[in-house]
Amino acid sequence: MSVGVFDVAIVGGGTAGCAAALALRKRGMSVVLLEKGQCGAMASGTNFGGVRRQGRDFREMPLATRARAIWDRLPELVGEDCEFRATGHLKLARDAAEMAELERYARDARDHGLELSVVGGNAVRALYPWLGEAVTGASLCPDDGQANPRLVGPAFARAARAAGAEIREFAPVTHARWTGAGFEIDAGGATLRARLLVNVAGFWGGEVAAWFGEPVPIRPLCPNMVVTEPVPYVIDRSIGVCGGNVYVRQVERGNVIFGGGRGWGDTARAISRPRADVARDAMARTLAILPWLRDARIIRTWTGFDGEMPDDIPVIGPSRTTPGLIHAFGFSGHGFQLGPAIGEIVAELVADGRSASPLAPFAIARFAGAPPAPAPR
C-alpha cells in the first residue's frame, strides 16, 4: 500500500487525527497517518483532561454536543473508556461580578441546548462542603466530565490501525505540496502520495497551512499543569473558575490535577517545560478554593504544545487555496473534548465535501490577509 497512492494522508497523530483515521477507514478509504513523535503525546496527551461544554464559546457548542455523545461510546468505539467519568463540571464565582457572569452564561446557554444550574454561596457550601470560603457561587453542567488524556489519542490510534489505517509514528512531515492531481508528502525520509490531505497538526498546523499559501496567526500554547500525591477522594466534580486562571479535578485514585497559566516551549525542537513560578500561582489559586489541600505534596508538573488562534477558536474546514486539503487545528487549549467529533467532521469533509456540523465560524478564510504570527517568545 505504501508505494501506491493513499486516498487520504493525515498530518498529525493527536486525538483528532487518529479519530479521523478511524472514521475514514469506516468509510472504506485508504489512510496513512503521519506523526512526528508518538500518537496523542502533544496537546491531546498533556492537557488537563476536561471533557467540558460549560463555558465554551457558543460557536463551538454544536461540535461539543456532538463530541459529548461520542465520549459515552468510547468502549464500543476504541475498546476502552479512557477513564471518562461524567462527573459534571462546576464553574466557580469568587465575587459578585463573576456570579453575574455565571448567570448570564447560563441564560444564554439555554438557547444552545445546555442546561446549567446556578447556585449561590450558601447552597454551594451545602452541596460541596469541600469548597473554601472564597467561593461565592457556582454553575453546574451535570453531564460534563473528565478523562485521562494520556489514553485517548493512543486508543483511537490503535482502533484506527486495527481498522486498517497505516499509522506511522516518528515520521515527521517536513513538507507537503499539491501536484495538480493530488499531494506529495515528505515524511520520515520517504515521499508519500495521497489524493487528499488532512492537516490536524496542532500548533504545527500553522506551518502546514503556510505551505499551501494560507498562513495564519497561530501561537504556541503550553498549559502549565500540576499534580499532587493521592489524597482522599472528595472532589467529585471537575472544577473551573470564571476567567479560567485555574482549573482542578481529582481522579478517583486520589491525585488532584490542576492547571493555570502557561509553561515554556521551544517549538523548533518540540521541547516544553513547566514553569515553577506559574505553578506557584496555580497552587495559590487552587488553595483559595480548596484550602484543605494545603498538606498535599506536589509530585509532578508538566506542559505540552497546543496551538492558539487570536480569536480562541480553531481553524476547521477546507483550504481556500488547495482542493482536497482539509484543516482542523489551533484548538486554543480546549480541543480535548472536541477531538473525537473532529475526527468524524474531518471524515465528512473529506468524503462528502461537507459536514453535518456548522463550521462557518471556523473557516481559515477569516485570517486571509492576516499578518503571520509574531515569533514566539
Binding site: E229, P230, R253, G254, R294, D295, R297
Partner: protein
C-alpha cells in the same frame, strides 16, 4: 515493632505519640526509627491492602511519608524526631 536498637545509646529522651500511644525516642533518632522501634508500620498503602514501613531510608523512594496530627505529612526517614510529635499511622486495623 519492626526495628531493633542494636547500638543502645544515652542522650535526651524525646516524647512523642503514635496513634495516641505515648512512646519515647532518643534525640538523634529519625522519625522513622522512633516509630518503627514501637510500631510495625508507618502508614496504610493507598492503592491496596496492607501497610508500608518505608524502603530506601535515603529520601529517594518516598515510601515513608507519615501523617502528623496537625495534618502535615513528613518523610519519616529524613525527619528527626521532635518533642511532642503526634503520629497517625492509621494502620492499627491493617
Amino acid at each position: 515493632m519492626q526495628f531493633v536498637r542494636l547500638k543502645p545509646r544515652d542522650g535526651e529522651t524525646v516524647a512523642l505519640t503514635i496513634d495516641g500511644r505515648s512512646v519515647e525516642a532518643r534525640a538523634g533518632d529519625t522519625l522513622m526509627t522512633a516509630i518503627l522501634l514501637h510500631a510495625p508500620a508507618l502508614r496504610r498503602f493507598e492503592f491496596g491492602d496492607g501497610a508500608r514501613a518505608g524502603y530506601c531510608l535515603m529520601g529517594a523512594c518516598q515510601d515513608c511519608f507519615v501523617a502528623l496530627a496537625d495534618g502535615d505529612r513528613v518523610r519519616a526517614c529524613t525527619t528527626l524526631v521532635a518533642p511532642g510529635m503526634a503520629v497517625r499511622t492509621g494502620t492499627r486495623d491493617v
